[in-house]
């Protein structure tokens, strides 16, 4: 029964629009489903399951062996999702006799090997109807993409059992599916699953965009918003871990940071590479582009360590020597952080300076200069704010510098996936390599798939359909008549595009249907912006 219940939950989540409705569905499911089924379901919803034998290509191969490859590809292209396509195309009975239970399905998936998967997965699919097959394939390949985040699933868990979301976030980390200790604590009245002697992740405190808000600098402290990645460094029980904002363990990519930390503490900071790009010699941080060379690597060569030396610029101190500081004010934590930093290796750790700004206007003036210093913007932190998980209104703000704008010409469009699978929603745009009236070419400079409203997307989709001059599989080449105003945070050298440039955070800011294509910007204009 329970695989069908899970399938019904998945479909319910697909079709439910409101966040509250989704919370309700998951909470009801968690309350009324026995252990360990509900733990496996929770793991599936939060991408906590991994079945190495089942890959996206496994599903494709299974189908290719049963359905004509051309028909499969046409179907996949239309449906926009491999698992759903496979669930619909699977030549199985409409109401199978012996559907597997949730736990049974998970155990079967876990036992599959690369050799057995083609037979075993097929046998499992034969025992499910189309909705069940969809849920199983989503679960097997990870990434449910049913419109819920891990955070929402955790909130639903908290709602189901009347416990605090912050506690759930904190205890979650370090737990493995099917999270029996979590259910024992929240649902079955057991003790909290906490262990101070392990280097566990603590949920990050995040900032709201400042937008139109004006704050009183008597209440807020300002820091630069450094352009790296936010990290948490944890040392406990003789072990050190480096976590990304999402709680992923990235210790392996940054051995020099891990090796330099041996004090029992939990620190919050920005991971950067040494250089002079951000804030000049004084800022001593390279561009985000430099840091990117180091991200996602399983092994790090000596040359990498020498060419792109990493360090952490510290923002906050959460725990020190077993003492949890998170309920103290930012000001108190800051004092303790300043006292703590000198105990660390200065090559690998430094302190994010507080910006001296007497008034909001003075800060605004300093922020204006951020572009010249290649800094992303400023952060505002309420002096009396405790360190709380997630985004809380009024405590921390980020105030990014204004984006750069450039007029580009739409060159190619590709269909999106998921909800956008019927829309041309990924746009590649270019700038002129010289004078277009003298015959210069357009060269691609970037690709964007957001920034527009739903109405604008419909308009763009219809423009692409009416102005197609060539088709390459899912990509359409347009007649290059439409000007798009593109906003982006910065531009740097890259081999990704023929122009030799790539933008950071490009988005479609405005559709300039009024502007003739030859009046769009040139590559040279973008090159000038590179320094900024």
């Amino acid at each position: 029964m329970s695989m069908e219940r899970f399938a019904a939950l998945v479909d319910g989540l697909v079709y439910t629009r409101s966040r509250n409705g989704k919370l309700q569905l998951i909470a009801d499911y968690l309350r009324t489903t026995p252990d360990p089924d509900r733990g496996w379901a929770l793991a599936a919803l939060t991408d906590g399951l991994d079945f190495p034998a089942v890959k996206g290509s496994t599903i494709r191969n299974l189908l290719m062996a049963r359905v004509d490859p051309v028909l499969f590809t046409l179907s996949r292209d239309y449906v926009g999702d491999t698992a759903e396509t496979a669930s619909l195309l699977w030549p199985g009975p409409d109401s199978p006799a012996d559907p597997p239970g949730m736990t049974q399905a998970v155990e079967a998936l876990a036992q599959m090997t690369r050799l057995s998967v083609m037979g075993d997965l097929a046998a499992l699919l034969d025992r499910l109807d189309a909705a069940g097959r969809f849920a199983l394939l989503k679960l097997a390949t990870g990434g449910m993409r049913v419109g819920i985040s891990a955070r929402l699933a955790k909130a639903a868990f908290a709602q189901a059992f009347g416990v605090s979301i912050d506690d759930v976030e904190e205890y979650w980390h370090g737990q493995r599916p099917p999270y029996q200790p979590l259910f024992d604590w929240a649902a079955n009245g057991g003790p909290p699953p906490r262990d101070g002697d392990q280097p566990l992740f603590r949920p990050f405190m995040l900032a709201h965009p400042l937008d139109e808000t004006v704050v009183d600098m008597a209440d807020y402290a300002a820091e630069w918003k450094w352009d790296g990645i936010r990290v948490q460094i944890v040392h406990a029980g003789g072990e050190t871990r480096l976590y990304s904002r999402t709680g992923d363990d990235i210790s392996g990519s940054f051995p020099e940071i891990v090796a330099a930390m041996d004090l029992d503490a939990v620190l919050d900071g920005e991971l950067l590479v040494r250089g002079t790009h951000q804030g000049g010699a004084q800022g001593s941080a390279a561009s985000f582009n430099a840091l990117q060379q180091r991200l996602g690597r399983k092994t790090v060569s000596r040359a990498m360590l020498a060419d792109y030396p990493a360090f952490v610029r510290l923002y906050d101190l959460l725990i020190v020597d077993g003492e949890d500081l998170r309920l103290l004010s930012w000001e108190q934590r800051r004092t303790m952080l300043e006292a703590f930093v000198p105990r660390l290796d200065p090559q690998r750790f430094d302190l994010s300076p507080v910006i001296a700004a007497a008034s909001f206007e003075a800060l605004a003036a300093l922020r204006e200069r951020a572009r010249a210093d290649a800094i992303e913007g400023v952060m505002l932190k309420r002096r009396d704010s405790p360190y709380v998980a997630g985004r809380r209104t009024g405590l921390w703000y980020k105030w990014k510098r204004d984006p750069l704008l450039v007029d580009c010409v739409l060159m190619y469009a590709q269909r999106g996936s998921g909800k956008r699978s019927s829309f041309y929603s990924d746009f590649t745009f270019g700038c002129w390599a010289g004078d277009p009236d003298a015959g210069a070419d357009l060269l691609p400079v970037g690709k964007a798939y957001f920034g527009f409203t739903d109405e604008e997307l419909k308009w763009l989709d219809s423009h692409v359909r009416r102005h197609t001059v060539n088709r390459f599989g899912p990509v359409r080449e347009t007649d290059k008549s439409l000007v798009l105003e593109v906003a982006f945070d910065s531009v740097h050298e890259s081999k990704r595009h023929k122009s030799g440039l790539a933008m950071r955070f490009p988005r479609i800011n405005r559709i300039r249907a009024d502007k003739p294509a030859h009046e769009a910007d040139r590559i040279a204009t973008l090159r000038v912006m590179m320094k900024g």
């Binding site: 697909v14 079709y15 028909l71 019927s422």
Partner: protein, 367 residues
């Protein structure tokens, strides 16, 4: 063209003609793999050259043969329109067309100029829908228009007819499209209604055909409560009743208070589902009756909470089984996902080609 002769009288409900064996016809044609020379696909419709007439043209012409009343097939402005009496009644309701209307009952053959004979046969798509069998120079061409093979209480069932060239639709021509039995979908609708006595279920259904079929199937399932209608569905439902399709008690949402609608089923055109109009309803559960609902993201794009896979088009199995059953010398594929149906024909060693007709819904959501 002045001389449209009536060959044999007939009317709605007359029995379908027997399948003709190829051998009964002109023996010279047997086994010849030639493409019809007298009928061709132009961008805005199928053109029957000797008779100088068009089938479902997308722009005004002199003489149009119209398969059924949906807007992408039946347009106003033709000098002469030949269609079933039901389709003509629907066109009259929609466009006010009366001049030049020439009724052709099911099974009745009309002689067109240029020695072309046209026979309208039930297509099972919506009330009045027809396939058009054209005969000329010993060759038979069947143009299906839109069709389905499932039973439908609001119209006559599709009649499979032997022919040389079979011109088929391909709206749901992908193997992912397999429509479940309609009883299952109606049961789903009734279950959700029963679970939420304080809310209403708002079903998006195309004004011609789908809405009346959903109503008739609800009645067949024993649902006797009044069914509430968006104003845009009123006249078509009334016409169906006039033409002999019983729909049971119908009411207008405009005449209801919010409280009247709690626990009720409300029908509206798909376009009104997420419209301001629906704000007057008590916390509606948004449903949609369409073959596209088979694909989750299509339902999500329309913000549909309760997808009902109900289609008036042939699904993949029906399309392919029909081609196999009719076994034409050549299959021509009009609008829809023609690539996949072409591929199926290729895999089954059947001659086929896709016609590039414009004006039919490219990825229309209203089936």
């Amino acid at each position: 063209m002045g001389n449209i002769g009536r060959m044999e009288p007939g009317g709605p409900g007359c029995p379908a003609p027997p399948m003709l064996e190829l051998s009964q016809r002109d023996p010279i044609l047997k086994g010849m793999a030639r493409t019809s020379f007298w009928m061709r696909a132009e961008a805005h419709g199928l053109y029957v050259a000797p008779a100088d007439c068009w089938i479902d043209p997308s722009r005004p012409v002199d003489t149009a043969l119209v398969t059924h009343g949906h807007a992408d097939h039946a347009r106003g402005g033709h000098a002469r329109t030949i269609a079933t009496p039901e389709t003509l009644a629907i066109m009259k309701l929609r466009y006010g067309v009366t001049d030049g209307a020439i009724p052709a009952g099911y099974g009745e053959s009309l002689r067109l100029p240029g020695d072309v004979q046209a026979t309208f046969l039930p297509a099972g798509h919506v009330l009045g829908s027809a396939q058009i069998l054209l005969e000329h120079a010993g060759e038979r061409v069947v143009v299906t228009g839109d069709y389905k093979r499932r039973p439908d209480p609001t119209c006559l069932p599709f009649v499979a007819t032997a022919c040389d060239i079979f011109v088929t639709e391909a709206t749901f021509a992908l193997p992912v499209f397999r429509h479940p039995p309609i009883e299952q979908e109606i049961a789903k609708l009734l279950t959700v209604r029963a679970l939420h006595p304080d809310r209403c279920v708002l079903v998006g259904a195309y004004a011609l055909g789908k809405a009346q079929r959903v109503i008739a199937e609800l009645r067949r399932a024993g649902y006797g409560e009044p069914i509430w209608l968006h104003g845009a569905l009123e006249r078509m439902c009334a016409l169906y009743e006039e033409l002999g399709v019983a729909l049971g008690p119908l009411r207008l949402v405009a005449d209801a208070g919010r409280a009247d609608l709690a626990g009720q089923i409300v029908l509206c055109p798909p376009g009104a589902l997420n419209d301001r109009w629906s704000r007057r309803l008590p916390d509606p559960i948004t449903a949609m009756a369409s073959g596209w609902m088979r694909v989750r993201q299509r339902a999500r794009q329309r913000n549909v909470e309760l997808p009902l896979i109900i289609s008036d088009h042939a699904d993949w199995d029906e399309l392919t089984a029909t081609i196999a059953e009719v076994a034409p010398r050549e299959t021509w594929i009009t609008h829809g996902r023609e690539d996949a149906l072409l591929r199926w024909c290729e895999l089954h060693q059947r001659q086929a080609r896709a016609l590039a007709l414009v004006g039919y819904e490219d990825e229309g959501e209203d089936d």
